[in-house]
């Protein structure tokens, strides 16, 4: 297969688009919620064993609700502060940085996490900037002074793609 000239280009370091970010966010919500549900199920089982009767914790419980949001806060804030990317972002190959390209600070990670719901609460208008703004920054990015870039090495991916044909038994 002949590589088209455009395939030689890499977008690494450029501002990430809406689809990649939305997909990353969806994976994050799925993963974090899945982990939380498993944790709640495990905790329920342990509590039932300890107290000797059935304990029922569900998402309708206000305490569970608070713990869930606290968990989401830790999940996002810690991930962004530690490496600039959550699990979903790592899968999609995008990364949070300070707007000038430096690593995001812990403060920026916390502010971004707290401002994220605001983009939803404004009927999703907070995300319009990703599509319309020159540097593709959402409302929570503007508040926290952050930006999201493509971080994966597409060149390496392309080489892997080309190289697969060389493996024995493959064509």
């Amino acid at each position: 297969m002949t590589a088209p000239p455009v395939a030689r280009l890499s977008f690494q370091g450029r501002f990430a688009g809406a689809a990649s970010r939305l997909a990353a966010y969806a994976i994050d919500i799925g993963a974090s919620t899945g982990v939380f549900v498993l944790a709640v199920a495990g905790g329920t089982f342990v509590a039932s064993v300890i107290v000797g009767h059935s304990v029922s914790w569900s998402r309708t419980n206000i305490i569970v609700e608070i713990v869930y949001f606290l968990w989401l806060f830790i999940y996002f804030a810690y991930s962004w502060a530690a490496s600039g990317k959550t699990f979903g972002m790592a899968m999609l190959g995008v990364r949070v940085l300070a707007a000038d390209g430096a690593d995001a600070t812990a403060r920026q990670a916390v502010v971004r996490t707290l401002a994220l719901p605001l983009s939803f609460l404004l009927l999703g208008l907070g995300f319009v900037g990703i599509v319309l703004q020159r540097d593709r920054r959402a409302l929570h990015d503007l508040i926290a002074g952050t930006a999201v870039i493509y971080d994966w090495d597409a060149r390496a991916a392309r080489l892997r793609f080309l190289a697969r044909d060389k493996l024995p038994g493959q064509s």
Partner: protein, 205 residues
């Protein structure tokens, strides 16, 4: 009549008759002498050494116009007579290479420029280097991620292109990078040409 004049005219008449005779005799004698001389023997008797010693070669060379001399040489004709194969056969390549300063030659090579001229895609696709890359970094998960990311980028570009059309602003790729990730002096610009599709073979984030 002057008796001297009579004498002069008589002498003149005699001279006119004798002169051609004398010339004939002289020529005949010279001819006989030349024939009798052995020039080779004469030359052999000459010692050239004292003559050569007296010749000032520098002065002689100064009088020779070398440019004029070279202009008269037909170089093509000269080269045509040179047997290049025989000449090369006499060259000791090992000795020649031993005299080459390889380090100095390598120092003059711009390795970065050479690397940029390499067609890495062709190397990966057509050589065992590709198999090495695939073995070292392959795997179902990595391949799945490549596809997922490529498709997401393809969708990003699709959205960006259509947004550009609706806003009547030409789109030429994702903007960036941020200030600190930019090469020195570069401005925030739109990216390279838009990615044509989501397949791994084409989409490049």
């Amino acid at each position: 009549m002057d008796p001297l004049n009579r004498l002069r005219s008589m002498g003149k008449r005699m001279t006119e008759q004798v002169e051609p005779r004398a010339q004939e005799v002289a020529e005949r004698m010279v001819d006989l002498v030349i024939r009798s001389v052995d020039v080779n023997a004469l030359v052999q008797q000459i010692d050239p050494e004292p003559i050569i010693v007296q010749v000032d070669l520098d002065k002689l060379m100064d009088r020779v116009d070398l440019n004029k001399l070279v202009d008269r040489v037909d170089v093509d004709k000269l080269l045509a007579r040179v047997d290049v194969d025989a000449l090369l056969g006499r060259v000791d390549i090992d000795r020649l290479l031993a005299r080459v300063d390889v380090a100095a030659v390598v120092d003059r090579v711009d390795v970065n420029e050479v690397a940029q001229r390499l067609d890495i895609d062709a190397l990966a696709a057509q050589t065992d280097l590709g198999a090495v890359i695939a073995r070292s970094s392959g795997g179902v998960a990595a391949n799945a991620l490549d596809v997922l990311r490529s498709q997401a980028v393809g969708l990003d570009e699709f959205i960006a292109r259509w947004t550009g059309r609706l806003r009547r602003r030409p789109y030429s790729g994702p903007p960036g990078p941020p200030e600190r990730l930019r090469p020195a002096g570069a401005a925030l610009t739109a990216g390279p040409a838009a990615v044509p599709g989501p397949a791994i073979g084409t989409a490049q984030p």
